[in-house]
């Protein structure tokens, strides 16, 4: 018996050590980026355009580009994702078509981001003649974000009690009225959380925007949906691998801003989740 107890102690200790092995690098990376960038982050860096072949100045166009892409992605993926989840949960019967949709969602979530890039390039840039543009990039990112939004919305809809629907239907409401007034309002927290999370992923993606929207160096703001834009992740890639002799402090500062943006979005999603969980009515 004592050997069994000893073995348990040793095993749990080893498991703990391995977990530490996962956790420490995460903290080290964050610390390393913050330490190396904190000196170069300034108001000018965030609000000015790059100068002198990106060796000086700021990253304002890239920040704006990424925010524009996030908004564009949301405009396409949110309605489409929510409606298809509504179809799956509220309308679909268990038939071949429904199973095909579910399989498609699983597959979309597994397709490599670079394949989305290729697809966006042939379909949106060339076939639909949108050109390398905000529109093409947002559409590509939107399709990539769909699976997360659909899955989150599905879970949110499924967690609304069945009795809500039964009461609404028994009072003579139609199917859509029931969904619109008695189900969707209670699913909004889950939908928002999932959406913000998927958008934060989209904001950090580089591969899908490589050939669909990202501009190597474009120190001005976009004027229309058919313009190219700079984007933070692509900018970081460019200055750390494609252009020689960029001061490493600029790369670190760009890294910091990108991570800051992504973490901020994650934080918003966490706050939304806990805020609504407190107000949960059932």
């Amino acid at each position: 018996m004592t050997t069994a107890r000893m073995r348990e102690k040793i095993a749990f200790f080893v498991l703990g050590l391995i977990t530490l092995l996962v956790v420490i690098p995460i903290l080290m990376i964050i610390f390393y980026i913050v330490k190396n960038s904190i000196g170069s982050i300034s108001w000018e860096f965030i609000t000015q355009s790059p100068r002198n072949g990106m060796k000086e100045g700021g990253i304002f166009p890239a920040i704006v580009g990424t925010i524009v892409l996030i908004i564009g992605t949301m405009l396409f993926s949110l309605p489409l994702g929510v409606l298809s989840a509504v179809y799956l949960v509220e309308y679909a019967r268990d038939n071949f078509f429904t199973r095909l949709i579910k399989l498609s969602v699983v597959n979309l979530s597994g397709i490599p981001s670079i394949v989305y890039g290729l697809f966006g390039f042939t379909l949106f840039v060339l076939f639909l003649k949108l050109g390398t543009s905000i529109l093409a990039g947002s559409l590509t990112l939107a399709i990539m974000s769909l699976p997360v939004i659909i899955t989150a919305t599905k879970e949110a809809l499924e967690s609304v009690p069945l009795s809500f629907r039964e009461i609404s239907l028994s009072l003579g409401a139609t199917k859509w009225q029931t969904v619109r007034y008695c189900v969707l309002p209670y699913a909004i927290p889950g939908i928002l959380t999932g959406t913000v999370l998927s958008l934060s992923r989209a904001a950090g993606e580089t591969a899908p925007i490589l050939f669909t929207v990202a501009a190597f160096y474009l120190p001005r703001l976009p004027r229309s949906l058919f313009d190219q834009v700079m984007a933070l992740p692509y900018h970081l890639y460019v200055i750390s691998t494609q252009v020689p002799n960029i001061p490493v402090s600029i790369s670190f500062a760009t890294c910091f801003v990108l991570i800051g943006l992504v973490f901020l979005m994650n934080l918003v999603s966490i706050i939304l989740r806990s805020h609504y969980r407190k107000k949960k009515l059932w």
Binding site: A4, P25, L83, Y87, N107, G117, P233, L258
Partner: protein, 289 residues
């Protein structure tokens, strides 16, 4: 009457959205297939699949996918060897050993890791990990398969840990209680009862993690050295399927053989991840039963 019409419209939209999701997968497949077939009109499919040289700008060009495929396999295998045992062990610790407050901290840290964009990890690989490996292991270059494997293993951990942890927590309490009743320690119950019972879910998590590793582009493009030769060791520079597409697409003329060859590489990637996700999904469904 007005209400009927608007109701009809909105319900049609809902159905249309469901249909579009299927349509996207088909469209992605069709567009990749269309451009790949354009390559195979002029270039033999056998030479594409089994050719050992990827020389897209030589005369005549050679589009043998073997070096790229092996590059992906080497990097992925290296990542799996690291992240599968580490991920499962961490999941076991979080699910069964850690007290609640520690569990919450660990879970948030894993979420933070999941949120870090891949290009950031690639950057860390360039400025820190690859010089470090070069120095400590005495390599001729730090831009090699191993650097990619380490970073990819790190990237796959959140997927593996969170899905495995769900699977472990989802095992019915009665299983553990029965084991305790027979005098098992917590470790014996975890190792012999809970872990096997959770295995379908854990396998699904591992498969999804592998899918993520194979499909990852930016990290491998930035740190593995971009050398499309048949690799013999994980310590030498190599090039994966994904990095080839990302690195060469910008230089090709659309409609050229090289351009179509990159779509054929994309199609191969699509098929690989399709199979992996299909297996993962059927494991998850079995786990839920």
């Amino acid at each position: 009457m007005h209400r009927r019409i608007s109701e009809y419209i909105i319900e049609s939209l809902i159905r249309l959205s469901g249909f579009l999701v299927i349509a996207f997968v088909f469209l992605i497949f069709l567009f990749l297939l269309r451009d790949s077939l354009s390559l195979f009109k002029e270039y033999k499919i056998g030479e594409f699949l089994f050719g050992r040289n990827w020389l897209p700008i030589s005369e005549p060009p050679k589009f043998g996918i073997v070096p790229l495929f092996l590059g992906s396999i080497y990097v992925t295998a290296g990542a799996i060897v690291i992240c599968v045992p580490v991920g499962i062990a961490a999941a076991m610790f979080i699910a069964e050993v850690a007290p609640t407050f520690l569990k919450n901290i660990l879970k948030s840290l894993i979420e933070i890791l999941a949120a870090i964009p891949s290009v950031v990890l690639g950057f860390i690989g360039i400025v820190w990990l690859s010089p470090y490996l070069k120095q400590t292991m005495g390599l001729s270059t730090g831009m090699c398969g191993l650097t990619g494997s380490l970073l990819l293993a790190f990237m796959a951990l959140p997927t593996i840990i969170s899905i495995s942890e769900d699977a472990l927590v989802g095992v019915p309490r009665a299983y553990k209680e029965a084991a305790f009743g027979l005098g098992a320690t917590r470790w014996q119950a975890l190792w012999r009862i809970v872990l096997p019972a959770a295995s379908p879910g854990i396998i699904a998590g591992v498969m999804l993690g592998i899918g993520r590793v194979i499909g990852e582009t930016m990290v491998v493009m930035m740190v593995t050295g971009n050398s499309p030769v048949v690799p013999t060791s994980i310590l030498q520079p190599l090039r994966t399927l994904t990095a080839t597409i990302a690195g060469e697409m910008g230089e090709t003329v659309s409609g050229s053989e090289h351009y179509f060859a990159l779509f054929a590489v994309g199609l191969v990637l699509f098929i690989i991840t399709f199979i992996i996700n299909f297996i993962a999904d059927s494991c998850l469904r079995r786990a839920r039963k």
